[in-house]
């Protein structure tokens, strides 16, 4: 049956690219679809999943940070202290041996607990622009206060990819900076660095 083959393909793909995923399934799905280390359950037992039980109230950020850190080692934390209890962020940073900083004044972080540094995505984003079927004359990268090696990554690209750095001012200021430094009066496409474009 095509659907079973598709499910097998999906689970295999997930297992091969997301290696720390642990499968949980009901027996009705069929044991043959899952590997030996999978867990077969009839009823969900919350006690076996303490991180899920902690996802309540103010402590929800601690397990979230732990999982996020395990998957994104270059995580940098920016915490707005008057919005929630920062002690869990400090504890996490101490245990993980990471630095973190408090952001008390920047409105961009009113809702944010952490900020991923984006250098791992910027190369893909620029690549996707360069692969457009219509030639691109100019690419401006505005770094809104990253502390990772975004600049080194961008320097590897051709000369018409230009790099500007500013202190953290948010996406609107970054776009204004890009427009200000553009050499051409053409249509602009703003692309967040975690996004890429189809070749068109």
């Amino acid at each position: 049956m095509a659907s079973l083959d598709g499910l097998d393909q999906l689970l295999t793909q997930i297992r091969s690219t997301l290696p720390d995923v642990r499968f949980v399934s009901s027996p009705e799905l069929g044991a043959q679809m899952l590997a030996a280390d999978s867990v077969m359950i009839n009823h969900f037992n919350g006690e076996l999943w303490p991180p899920l039980k902690q996802l309540t109230g103010i402590k929800k950020i601690a397990p979230f940070l732990n999982r996020l850190h395990a998957r994104h080692p270059k995580l940098t934390l920016l915490a707005r202290c008057d919005r929630f209890d920062c002690s869990c962020v400090a504890d996490f940073a101490d245990r993980a041996g990471k630095s973190w900083c408090r952001e008390a004044d920047n409105d961009d972080y009113q809702r944010g607990y952490s900020r991923l540094q984006q250098c791992r995505f910027i190369a893909d984003a620029i690549d996707s622009i360069l692969k457009q079927t219509h030639p691109v004359t100019e690419i401006i990268v505005v770094d809104d206060g990253s502390v990772d090696n975004t600049e080194q990554v961008v320097q590897c690209f051709p000369d018409h990819v230009r790099y500007y750095k500013q202190v953290i001012q948010g996406p609107s200021a970054a776009r204004n900076q890009g427009i200000k430094n553009g050499r051409w009066r053409v249509d602009c496409v703003f692309l967040g660095c975690r996004r890429s474009m189809d070749a068109r």
Binding site: A2, L7, Q9, L10, I14, L18, F44, Q54, L55, T56
Partner: protein
Amino acid sequence: MSHSHYHQDKPLIRVGDLSNSGQIYLVRNVMYEPVDGRNTPDTAYLEALSAYAQALPVSISTHRYNYTRSEQDFQWLLWMDSISC
């Protein structure tokens, strides 16, 4: 716990939230329903990647009917339903 009162669920439920009676919500975030022609292995995989990037558990939603009929059968049943209404 008293069951005499009706409790409205929260309008936005996230995985791991607790209900009023203490149950843990598990929210499905990957749809694998291939016979409808839209939620295929490829789209389901993209949804799994999205959940993974957000450090969320991947919960795959799939139903029995996907494995008991082909996509053509499913579309035919939909068509029969539409003309019988």
